[in-house]
Symmetry: C2
Subunit: 218 residues, 2 copies
């Protein structure tokens, strides 16, 4: 068995590793989308790739809601608008005007939208690995979103993760089964631009810091 597996396993060379780093460096949280639609079936194909992600106890708790209905999309935009107004009011005075100028979602333009949930009621995985850390179910879903994001970017497709939303309201708008917990709402489409710096850094909100500052030894 092991020999058979070894015989088939792929080797990744330095060229691939460089490209993988470029992919990670050029993956962006996209807020400015072109309005042209993605080819039919693109989202389903990206979701299939996302399902290769790790999950606690092989629970595969990710649930993808492809949001097409215009009334539901409008309700989600309204939810974002209300939550973003609340957030603006809570900004420190010296940052409020900068906050107000940030473009924080592509909900108006992105041709595709996917809301992603974690199924807390799933029996799959028989609870393995999450007795002391139940949130690992949610982490598994966050990682599946990341996988979809990378696979999309490798095709020139941008993803923007909207978190300025009321999770209970989103679940209500989308009429999802009981036990599904909202993790993130994704805008998906062709980006208006490419960049290797985060939008929030280009807009002066925050900057990246060197990795050495986040490592300690014990």
């Amino acid at each position: 068995m092991e020999a058979k597996l070894r015989a088939r396993h792929p080797d990744f060379d330095p060229t691939f590793r460089d490209q993988l780093q470029a992919l990670l460096a050029w993956r962006r949280d996209v807020r400015r989308f072109r309005r042209d639609a993605l080819p039919q079936g693109t989202i389903e194909r990206l979701i299939e790739i996302a399902c290769l992600s790790p999950s606690v106890g092989l629970s595969e708790p990710w649930r993808f809601v492809i949001v097409e209905d215009q009334a539901r999309r409008a309700a989600i935009r309204d939810c974002f608008g209300a939550c973003n107004q609340d957030a603006l009011r809570q900004q420190e005075p010296d940052r409020a005007s900068l906050y107000a100028r940030l473009k924080l979602s592509g909900l108006d333009d992105a041709p595709s939208q996917v809301a992603v949930f974690a199924d807390h009621a799933t029996a799959q995985g028989h609870g393995l690995g999450r007795l002391t850390m139940p949130a690992t179910l949610d982490y598994s879903v966050a990682i599946a979103i990341h996988t979809l994001w990378l696979a999309a970017r490798a095709e020139g497709i941008g993803v923007g993760w909207v978190s300025i939303l009321d999770p209970a309201r989103v679940a209500e708008i989308l009429d999802v089964p009981q036990g599904w917990t909202f993790i993130g709402h994704l805008c998906v489409g062709y980006p208006e631009e490419e960049a290797d710096l985060p939008a929030l850094q280009r807009q002066g909100w925050e900057r990246r810091h060197p990795s050495a500052g986040v490592v300690i030894y014990r």
Copy 2:
């Protein structure tokens, strides 16, 4: 600015996309490690790549604890042992013997260990994006772990995520700053074998399901 960015952005071709899918398919949660050490500086380099991950509000809340002290490693092994015994006792009777046979961590053999935390006290990002969804801070860290995992696998290095631990006890063992929340403990090293099926599937615990079953339309 945009023209300059466009001029530099990488193009990813079908060969790269195929290799990326192979990477996702052959990334495993590794529990069987060879004992030989990784080259000096490997973990730090992988962490640097992980810091390219997306984070809510560019908060970069990931904190990496490289665990080298033998007494601390032993304490974490003990914590795993106790939590795993509890989990075994809670198995359904017909699954307990299968559970007992599973190898669920590489803590005994992996040459490197990294505990990963989310800094809930960070001011970075100024709270952007997480007012209604504070757990996005933790999701950002889970995604950084995933990035490290993929970068490692692309170099032939295996990662195993141990979640059968008491988070408060791990924070205590590693004496981390107040406000750091434990997300996962990583075993890192060269894997004993490669595989494109999850270990839990090969051992009969659970199996993968088709992605069509996790998609709904609204």
